[in-house]
Symmetry: C2
């Protein structure tokens, strides 16, 4: 019954899930941009995904796609594998947090359930990946994600970094160098309305971050 999906299908499902979860519509163009594929190709794929039985997406011409229940389960399964793999690559194989994404995006389509179960076990059933993103459990329930951006805080608020939403290696390496990782506590010291810069203090050390940085960091206020 459960024939396995192609690489491409899995990446589409993941993209639809992610765009929707982030409050964007999974429109043809958004998907095309997200997946680096021509819009016309996205149309073709959405039609295919909608015409499977059971369908994985609901697709209405010119209205983008939403996941069906089947599609959402499939998406969560891929996301779980992706995040477990990222965690495994980081914790057990010494990959840095800017290297894990690309590797996981390949492996997520290749590993078996057995492999997934084993690394989950070896890691002690981790709940978050190296970027702080929550890992859906075996039952494919996605935990709540932190959704307050650091860029929205003002002095003298305090917060803990929960997750970093970025695939850009430069940004990730920059943040690592500054120790701005999930779990880090910080205080807002100043806000510059003209450019959106925030001055923050981490462990007493002050630094100024532009909004191109702060809008990718999601926090929990304390």
């Amino acid at each position: 019954m459960k024939k396995k999906l192609s690489h491409a299908s899995e990446d589409y499902l993941k993209a639809i899930y992610t765009l929707s979860a982030d409050g964007f519509s999974a429109s043809t163009n958004n998907l095309a941009a997200h997946l680096n594929i021509a819009p016309a190709s996205v149309t073709g794929m959405l039609q295919r995904l909608a015409s499977l039985s059971p369908p994985l997406v609901n697709y209405r011409k010119r209205h983008g796609a939403t996941l069906t229940d089947t599609g959402e389960k499939a998406a969560l399964k891929v996301i779980r594998r992706h995040r477990l793999l990222e965690t495994y690559l980081h914790k057990s194989l010494g990959f840095s947090w800017d290297e894990v994404h690309a590797e996981a995006c390949e492996l997520e389509h290749a590993v078996s359930d057995r492999f997934e179960a084993r690394i989950d076990e070896v890691l002690g059933h981790p709940t978050h990946d190296p970027h702080g993103d929550p890992i859906p459990n075996l039952g494919l329930v996605m935990p709540q994600e932190a959704d307050i951006r650091l860029s929205t805080l003002r002095p003298p608020q305090k917060a803990i970094i929960q997750r970093v939403d970025a695939e850009d290696g430069k940004l990730l390496r920059y943040l690592e160098e500054k120790s701005l990782l999930p779990g880090t506590k910080l205080e807002i010291r100043a806000f510059s309305p003209i450019d959106g810069n925030l001055t923050i203090a981490v462990d007493g050390k002050k630094m100024v971050l532009g909004s191109a940085v702060t809008c990718h960091i999601f926090i929990e206020e304390i």
Copy 2:
């Protein structure tokens, strides 16, 4: 320059290498049987592999294929990844020796050089996979393989099992249960010409093995 090969191409190269190394010709039909693909499809693929630049195989109509130097390097690279992965799955993730092949055959096309290098390091640069097959080193040199079959021995010869050439799960599980693994020492006690059965002793324990078993076990005489 080095665009990466498709899954299918890599499996063909591996199959051509393996058939040749085992003394078979990499003919259309042999490849078809080995890869579980229709002969006509093999013809098509060999033509494609031969028309790449640089070509990966030498192909003469109706005379099967041989690997070019480029093709052989590519084949050895895949075999190295495959065997390292099998070893890693077995040693680090607790896969049994009859489970590793299928998983490795998927992963071998997905892992990066970085991943390969890391597991090689974690494993301490292993020289043999769980079935006793040699792992080509980083320079892609394939060590000599044991090529004497247990089935050719006669009393009172003694030998050490070097490798087991089988993908059949039943056979592998049978051998594991009998502790007939690479490294095991044994003595030939009797040979039955009528059916080819060998009576062997392992650690003083006697057992009778049919030639369907003994012809898959390669040994080193002692």
